[in-house]
């Protein structure tokens, strides 16, 4: 059920992200979500794309180093307390959260999505499903 996120190593210099996203854009890859984790010298770009395999091959061909990581994508109603309910469910199941980021790539549905990186993906998925949340494998176009 988990979806694959692609993480890419980039130097923390002007134009690096621009160059990388251009490679993806030119190949017609759609970005569903993106987040940056940075240090002074380098950063990790984490992203959800429509074609994981194609993207990984493309990045390798352009001399980027990337890895694939399983993450959980959960749909949350865009209302007060929506995110808190997700976190409460994870706490109850004793799941540790490493990082998360949000995306509005929900098309016309008016839904927000959170991308969660957890220690135990399976356990997190079960806990969230039991709490009535909708997990997704693919983002709607």
């Amino acid at each position: 059920m988990a979806i694959k996120q692609i993480s890419v190593f980039l130097e923390n210099k002007p134009g690096m992200l621009d160059k990388m996203t251009k490679v993806l854009a030119d190949a017609g890859i759609t970005l569903r979500a993106l987040s940056l984790a940075e240090t002074k010298d380098f950063g990790i770009v984490r992203m959800i794309v429509d074609d994981v395999y194609e993207t990984a091959t493309l990045l390798k061909d352009h001399d980027y180093i990337s890895s694939r990581t399983p993450v959980v994508a959960v749909m949350i109603p865009d209302v007060v307390g929506g995110l808190n309910k997700v976190l409460t469910a994870l706490t109850a199941a004793d799941v540790n959260l490493e990082y998360m980021y949000s995306t509005l790539a929900g098309g016309q549905s008016g839904q927000a999505y959170m991308i969660l990186r957890v220690e135990d993906t399976k356990k997190a998925e079960e806990a969230l499903r039991e709490a009535g949340f909708k997990l997704i494998e693919e983002f709607p176009d």
């Binding site: 993480s7 190593f9 240090t39 010298d41 990790i44 001399d63 980027y64 180093i65 890895s67 990186r117």
Partner: protein, 417 residues
């Protein structure tokens, strides 16, 4: 050997005294004449030649034969100042090629082998020297010269090259490229490599050997003395046998010039024994190493020199501490990084800074920032314990450090002193 050396040395000293006024003047200043030199035990009485002398005497000042008798020049890269131009008679070329042939033979080469020379051809001695040696051994010689990596690999595979000659950094790059192309050690026909012209570490040797499935042998030389082949490694892969019937090595204290006892570490000095056009007496190489007469399992009785730690001009003095790039390379390879690195030295607020740029590799990358930071700290700690000073480590994008097809540019020193 001693008898040969004595006889040849007397002749060589007489030759330089009579034909090279520049060196004769040095001898006169030191109060020595050829009559004072009765055997190699008197070698220490003779004055040194250094790179500064070669620059001062440029271009013809050290020429030992009329130009009419010379057939070739070779030249250094000249990165540290004026180029050195060395002259050769046909006799000198033959002698040099013999030395290279011995190196190829010591690496297991015979007339059954296909030897690809990926050293640059031209003024650089690497290509011409090994090319001549390969001919003398009777190998089928592929003179690819350096560059055009994919074509190099095509020739290695299509013509079943068994011996590769190039700089170690280019060998590592070729190995990296072959791996990317999906070629494993069993797919590559090479069995031996002869790599020299720059300092490289034991770890880099293991990496190259494993990637290509070969035995990697070191070779040493200087344009001033002829080129590669002054010394070479044998099957023992532990130190290089000096062709001492042509070149006598000494180890001196670089500060006092005093000759040090066998086994001591110091600056390597060479005296040529039968060069005609460009005789060199007590030439200071600025390479730091030691000599040994221990019995070698290969059966050769030629004296051995340890792998130089690096040329004393490669040595950096950072915050008063001697740092050799090869030490940094050792730490990187031990911790799983690639041998693609650059050392940037600068001076900020009157204090030296050492920044090591290291390329990220797929093996070392993870999505976890904390883990990458931890590995980076491990590297800083590893460098600290190897060098004794703290270095900053900057992780950079793969292939962002320029690959060299000749000698790698490892050090950028921005200090203006």
């Amino acid at each position: 050997m001693r008898a040969i050396q004595n006889e040849k040395l007397l002749k060589q000293v007489r030759h330089i005294w009579e034909d090279v006024p520049y060196y004769r003047k040095k001898m006169e200043e030191a109060g020595v004449t050829p009559d004072d030199i009765k055997s190699i035990d008197d070698l220490h009485k003779l004055p040194f030649l250094s790179k500064a002398d070669l620059r001062e005497a440029y271009p013809y000042g050290l020429l030992g034969k009329p130009l009419k008798e010379c057939v070739r020049i070779q030249s250094t890269s000249g990165t540290t100042g004026k180029r050195v131009v060395a002259f050769y008679t046909q006799h000198d070329i033959d002698l040099w090629e013999d030395c290279c042939a011995r190196a190829i033979t010591a690496a297991g080469g015979t007339d059954e082998d296909v030897c690809q020379i990926s050293y640059g051809y031209g003024l650089f001695t690497g290509g011409p020297g090994l090319n001549g040696g390969s001919h003398k051994v009777g190998c089928l010689t592929i003179p690819t010269s350096s560059g055009n990596t994919d074509r190099q690999i095509m020739f290695i595979n299509d013509l079943k090259a068994t011996i590769l000659c190039c700089t170690p950094s280019y060998a590592a790059y070729l190995g990296e490229r072959m791996k990317e192309m999906g070629l494993g050690p069993d797919d590559i026909p090479l069995k031996a490599g002869i790599f020299g012209a720059e300092a490289w570490s034991e770890e880099m040797r293991h990496d190259i050997q494993n990637t290509m499935g070969i035995k990697a042998y070191d070779i040493y030389g200087l344009t001033e003395l002829s080129g590669p082949g002054v010394s070479f490694e044998c099957s023992e892969q532990n130190g290089m046998h000096v062709n001492e019937d042509h070149f006598i090595p000494e180890i001196i204290d670089p500060d006092t010039g005093e000759v040090l006892p066998l086994g001591s570490e110091g600056e390597l000095v060479f005296t040529s024994l039968d060069k005609e056009a460009f005789p060199m007496i007590r030439y200071r190489t600025r390479d730091i190493c030691s000599l040994s007469r221990e019995k070698c399992s290969c059966g050769r009785t030629l004296i051995k020199m340890a792998k130089p730690k690096g040329r004393s001009d490669d040595m950096l003095i950072i915050r008063g501490v001697n740092v050799f790039p090869s030490q940094i390379e050792t730490v990187l390879l031990n911790q799983g990084y690639a041998a693609n690195y650059q050392i940037i030295v600068d001076r900020v607020n009157n204090s030296d800074t050492l920044d090591v740029h290291v390329e990220m590799t797929p093996e070392m990358f993870t999505d976890n920032l904390g883990e990458i930071n931890k590995r980076q700290r491990d590297l800083v700690d590893g460098l600290k314990s190897m060098l004794g000073i703290k270095a900053k480590v900057t992780l950079v994008a793969p292939k962002s450090i320029a690959r060299s097809e000749g000698k790698a540019v490892r050090v950028i020193d921005k200090r203006k002193i």
